[in-house]
Every structure is written in C-alpha cells, then in structure tokens.
Symmetry: C2
Subunit: 369 residues, 2 copies
C-alpha cells in the first residue's frame, strides 16, 4: 500500500488541539466535516490494545455540532430523523438516522437535547447544516441554525472513569450512558456526555472555549499518567469489532436505515411527521433486499479504499465489502459488508479479490464481539 501526504490548507482546517497531537506523534489524518481528524498514532494494533486496557485522549473536534434553536427547532429536528423524539429528555443523547425524502441515509448523528427549543446534532461526515438550512428556508420555520465553536475531546477506555472522576469529581462516574451534564473547567462550563465512538467506555467533552480547552487537554495528560494515558483516535480495529457503523464507509445515501440494521431507530408506527416516512413504511412492508452484515476473510492484511465485490462459487456478485481490518482477536480480517438477500445466512461462504488474489470469506453477525 503506497502512502500519500495530505496537503493541508485552511479548507481542511486543523483543530484547537492540532499542535498538541502533532507534537505527540500523530502519523496519519483523515478528513471529517472539512477538518483534520487523526487516524493513527503509529501502530493501529498497539493503539487498539492500549484502548482496551487503559485510557486515551482523542481530538475529535471534527465531530461538528449543528445547533438548531428557536420556536420550531423541535419540529425541524424531528422532521430530519425517523426516530420518534417526542419523549426525548433534556440532558440525554439520542442516536438518530437522518433521512431524506427517499427514506435514505444522510447522516447518523447523536442528537443532544439541550433545552426544549435548543438541540445539537453531533454529526458524522456530511454537511447536515446545509440540509437543515434548506428545509428551514423552504418550510419557513422559525429557527436559528449555526455551527458553534465547540471542539470535542473524547476520553475513552476502561480507565476513563477514574481519570475523569479525578478531574471533575466523583459525580461524573455516576453519569448514565448517553446522559450529559455541565462541568466547570478553567472558568468555563463544558457539556460532558457519557458517550464516544468506541465500546470501551468513556466520555466526550464538548469544549466550548479554546483556552480552557487546551488547558483541559494538558490536564488530562498530567492527571492521566497514573492510568497510563496516551493520545489516540477512533480505532479502525476496535470500531469494526464493536460493529460501530461509519457513515460514508459502511452506509451512504443509497441505503435506508433498515438496510443498515438500524430498525430500532425507525419509528414508522409513531404519530410524528418525518421525511421519507412513506418510503420507510413501504420498505418495511415489502422487506429489504440487502443489509449490512459482518464478514470474516482468511487473510492477515487489508486496506479497503473502495467497495469490493463478494462473489459466490458461480462468480455471481452477492454483496460488497465496505470496511475491513485485520483483527488480532480473530487473527484474520473482519469487515462490514452489504449483502444481497439470498446470502444472509450465517456461515455463507464467498470469494473476494484482494490485490489480484482470490481469497475465502464467511458471512457472520454484527457486532463481532
């Protein structure tokens, strides 16, 4: 696999923590919401083991917030997602597919209810703000839509609870999963949620001030020494093993939420109005023809940079691989694939062409672990 430099510019802007992570040894970047998102600090595998045992500090400022406030804010937020938010509570996070009028995925953010008339949509990689603005203008909704200057630091891993308790007090250890509250640091109140893009536990700190944010970034490393803290980032191995989906990788605007296995977030039986509801009712009635599943492949190394077809014994395409990585746990490559209906049975065998060589694979359930 050839390596290529990233050409930096203001258009792919850095974060308040970029100078820190570049000093700490970030080795590769991806781009996410027009910003730099670290993708590795040396070996992915070393980071994976460390994340599962200790605690990591992640610069995930690229997880931008679309802030929607005003009289019609709840109406607009509900319009964009097929998850029924009528019973949503202030101080809670909600994983929500964002859907267009075709019932297809536009994003899969976590939505935070800050007030009855103020929401943050904490987005994956697409310009949800433009969709929200277009809808609000077209429907003449009384809302204010902005991207606040909020730059998230994630604290992830089993020792994150002790580290965060040490800095913010014991109360933060009692916070429930997907709950959030406000905590003071450096004279500023920051929203902290019990959340994060790993299954190893932890928090996301929605830092709303650059100066106190940098102080907090440094404090986390100072206080974290006893917990073997390291800089990190969303880890491809851990997130695939855990079955955490990535918008743009595993799913895109050609897929509906049922096809992505997000059935429990599709509330077609509720009374709420949302985009694409008729299409999703139809899809539910007719049944889907493809869905995301796990696959295991009998090789030790892979780099997926585009969809790769999966073939049956008759060389018929049965689906496509969208993300994959070598898993130390399974000692083979595991991945997330979109599979056509005839091939959903667990243990279905397939062939895939990797670097000019045909290799064997097997269909399995998600998540892997």
């Amino acid at each position: 696999m050839k390596k290529f430099n990233i050409a930096k510019s203001r258009r792919l802007r850095g974060t308040p923590y970029s100078s820190r992570i570049e000093h700490q040894g970030v080795t590769s970047y991806t781009i996410y919401n027009h910003m730099l998102l670290p993708a590795s600090f040396g070996s992915l595998e070393d980071s994976y083991h460390h994340l599962k045992e200790h605690v990591q500090i992640w610069d995930v400022a690229a997880e931008r917030q679309v802030e929607i406030s005003g009289r019609d804010s709840s109406k607009l937020v509900q319009l964009m997602t097929c998850r029924d938010l009528t019973k949503s509570k202030i101080g809670r996070c909600y994983y929500c597919p964002i859907i267009d009028d075709n019932g297809c995925m536009i994003n899969d953010p976590v939505i935070l209810k800050l007030k009855d008339d103020k929401w943050w949509i904490s987005i994956a990689d697409s310009d949800v703000i433009l969709f929200a603005k277009g809808l609000a203008i077209g429907k003449k909704l009384d809302v204010n839509i902005t991207e606040p200057d909020v730059n998230i630091i994630a604290v992830q891993g089993p020792k994150s609870f002790d580290l965060m308790g040490k800095i913010f007090g014991i109360k933060i250890k009692d916070m429930k999963f997907f709950g959030f509250d406000y905590f003071n640091f450096g004279g500023d109140d920051h929203l902290i949620a019990r959340s994060g893009w790993s299954k190893q536990g932890g928090y996301e700190i929605y830092v709303n001030h650059k100066k106190s944010g940098l102080e907090l970034y440094d404090k986390l490393f100072d206080e974290g020494k006893e917990f073997n803290v390291k800089p990190g980032c969303p880890n491809l191995i851990e997130r695939i093993e855990s079955g955490l989906l990535s918008y743009g990788n595993d799913m895109d605007n050609n897929d509906n939420p049922y096809e992505c296995g997000l059935d429990k977030y599709v509330n077609i039986d509720s009374n709420v109005e949302f985009l694409g509801k008729d299409k999703l009712i139809q899809s539910s009635k007719n049944g889907i023809q493809k869905k995301l599943m796990g696959v295991q492949i009998d090789i030790k190394n892979i780099s997926v940079t585009e969809s790769l077809n999966l073939f049956d014994n008759n060389n018929k395409v049965i689906g496509e691989l969208r993300s994959a990585v070598f898993s130390p746990h399974f000692n083979k490559v595991i991945g997330i694939a979109m599979l056509f209906k005839a091939n959903w049975e667990i243990s279905t065998k397939f062939k895939i062409n990797i670097d000019g060589k045909s290799v064997n694979g097997t269909v399995c359930d998600l998540p892997f672990i």
Copy 2:
C-alpha cells in the same frame, strides 16, 4: 513543515483514475467533496512552469455534479444563486455564487445549462446536494436531484488546444470560453467544456462512462507526447497568481459575495427571486466592511493551514491571510487575504507572524497577473 499520511477509506473515495495517477507519481492528496483530489506530483514549482508552457491532464473527478432536472428545476437553481440566469443559454457555463438566506456563500460552482429543465451544478467543496434537497422538499418543488456518475478529466495549459484538436477534431478548437458541446469517444458521448481551474486555457471533459473514460485518459497521454504532456492537478502557485478563489480557503459561509469581490455576479437589480436577496440589497446599500485582496509577503516559503492575522504598526489586526504560496514570478510569497475597510489602500504595509518570526507585507490588487 511536518508531513502526514492520508488514511484512505471508502468514505474518502478514489476516482476512476486513481490507479493511473498513483502509478504516475502523485505525491499528495487533498479531500474535496468526500473524494481524493491530487494536490501535487512532486515539485509544485516544476508543475507550475510546465502548466504555463505545455499541457497537463488533471484528475478532477472530485468536482462533483449536482444534477437538477424536472419542471421546477430552473426555479430551484435560480433560488440558490444571486446571479440572474433568466437569459442563460443551453450549452453555456455560468460561474455562480450559491447563497443562503443570510446572503452568505455556500459554494461557488460553475452551473451548466444542459436543457431548459436540466442543470448541472459543478460544485466546489461543500454538500450543495443537501441544500438543494432541503429546499426542494421544503418548497415542494417538482425536481429530481441526483449526483450523476460523472468524473471530470481537465486538460489544461497552452498546448491543450492542439492536443484536444488532435483527438476530437478541429471543431473543438473553435469552442468559446465557457461554452460546451458533446463529443464522442469510445462509443460514449461526453460533455466537453472550454473551462478549467487555471488561467492557462483548456477544457474539462465531463466523462460519463468509466471504461471509455480510462481509455480517454490513456489516449490523452499517448497523443500528448508531442506536446510534452504530464499529469497534473490544480496548482496552488498558478491559481493564486491568477486570482482564482477557492471556497473553504479564501471564502466561507461567513462571507457574502461582495466581500469576495464577486460583485458582477450579484444581480440585485434583476426581477428574479433568490435567497438572501434582501440581505445583499442591504449590504450593497450599507457598503461592505471587509473584502478579499492580494498581499505580498517578504519571505520565500509559507504553508497556510489556518487563517493568519495581519497586524498594523500598532499591533492592531487589520485582516487575515487565508491562502498563500511562494511565487517564482514575484520571487516572494503572495496570498489572498480578507482585509478590514480601513486598510484597503494599495501598498498598505502590514506585519505577519510566520513560524514565530514577524515579517513584512504589502496589500495589492487581485489578480496578481
């Protein structure tokens, strides 16, 4: 300047030509519309000189098309731009600021009128398709909005005319700037426009079929030997010298088109309805308080990865640098900066902090050449 790898994935997908350009020596990528866009083939300066003398083939598939068709397509397209398109003609390209309801920039595409009810918006780096979808849904417009599988190859440089004439016939050399027509290659009709993101002349081939596109890519190199053809990409030196603006670098959603010097594309006196018209009328009446201008800086090297403040002699901020590069022509750094009103006079002096050192600069007009 430290260098970092780009972490490739399906989310930052390659183009039909990626395998070719990686074989041909691309050295860095940027990300543009969720795709890989080559940013250099070795030395920027060598490519700059070559582009100005010979002909280059560019993989600019990342310039995506938002296709808007249907009964209300003209209405929707006009709604999104402050340029009056009522007299637009089929077979012509139009540079158009895309504007939100605040009168601020969302993108600055070239819009192609394919039919009376079919348009391509050839976008810079933001998800215009989501804005268009939101507006269409909200206003219940009768339109179909898609991203067609079109992957542009640009042929740029003074010898592009001879090369394209050799392949497509003499007729293509008579095409006027920003005109387009259809030409057959490999059994497929491809739209070819006299356009491109350099001021060295050339064409953009809107390739609509992968197989014939790859054949054409190779053909351009075969036939181009006598013209000293090379692979290339939008060149930072050439585009800044030519004053070609880059959305996300030089301007963003905090700027209106007057502030970006795009006055001639703002038709507030026309009868057409477009978003933000009231805000732009107000801005025109009140006058703007900042605008994009050129700057020259007395150093030989720079890498702009974020806005950099410009200071007067009293250490007061007078504007910010947004893009810059060393220019062989001027033998110093030149750049594009947003300057506050008190400092618009040509030859205004300023200071800027580069890598911890204060250096001198001068305000000038755009374009540089």
